[in-house]
Symmetry: C2
Subunit: 144 residues, 2 copies
DNA sequence: AATTTTTCCTATTGACATACTAGGAAAAAG
DNA sequence: CTTTTTCCTAGTATGTCAATAGGAAAAATT
């Protein structure tokens, strides 16, 4: 039941882009430095976010990334699912064919309840919420 | 974010033991047949439950397994954690050393909220609840 | 006493996922 | 034309998952 580092880093980058937005494009290099993460690995991850049109990019000098939309557009769920695929605890929740007896399967009911609980959090919290928490706590030396 | 087959099968076995309890020991063989699962694999899993004292066993002919306690003793969380370890979405939730800045880490707050949501379900639903759901729906040909 | 049935224990395997690293092509700016 | 940056693909080490396999120990039956 773990969220992968890719998922974590994706959120971390999106939050970094939101917090450090100054109208210019932000390089992977600077994000990697701030967050103390592998540049090459972050590249791969942000490419997935780029293909999902969650960030826009330009190449070359003065290039980098920016959020496509404002932070309140993105829920945590949108970002995590782009990277991790479904976050359902079992495939029978999302795939019709997996458990071909879902409607009369006791445990599928339980997995579904867990799934709803997770979604209740991640589809409710937005990037803007996280930014706000960050801003509210800057004086207290919060980190991402 | 998947629950492993071990976790699923563990719950399935515990529920099978609860539902089919008739005062005698129940063999792995019969559980495997009813649930259509690998006998040898279930053996390994139930051994973990046995070591946790969630089931008691006797060897030899007429041997098998029984629940140690009544079904309302066991929460789904107890059973799953015995098999899967912690169900926290990130290790920083349970290990002190993982993120050494938890108290000022924004994302750790988020992981913690997800963790609480999951626990809210699994620590609330008991094996007895599942048995009840099963009994209530026997006429409708429910499966485990 | 021998046989059968069952749990107990450990080792092995194949497939897949995870978390990266590496190298180079393409494009934009100066 | 040089530098900076994104874009794209391949490789790799490590670990986890989902089993399978084989046999020892114990309890009941014959």
């Amino acid at each position: 039941m773990r969220i992968s580092t890719k998922g974590q880093y994706a959120l971390q980058m999106m939050l970094d882009l939101a917090v450090n937005d100054n109208g210019e494009y932000i390089t992977i290099k600077s994000i990697a430095k701030r967050q103390n993460l592998s540049e090459k690995y972050l590249e791969q991850i942000i490419n997935m976010l780029s293909r999902a049109k969650y960030v826009k990019s330009t190449r070359g000098a003065k290039g980098g990334y920016r959020l496509t939309n404002s932070p309140d557009f993105y829920t945590v769920g949108m970002i995590l699912r782009t990277i991790e695929g479904s976050l359902a605890p079992l495939s029978c929740i999302e795939d019709e064919n997996e458990c071909n007896q879902v409607e009369r399967c006791l445990l599928c009911e339980l997995w579904s309840e867990i799934n709803d609980a997770i979604n209740g959090v991640i589809d409710h919290v937005t990037l803007a919420d996280l930014v706000r928490r960050y801003q509210d706590s800057v004086g207290y030396d919060y980190i991402i």
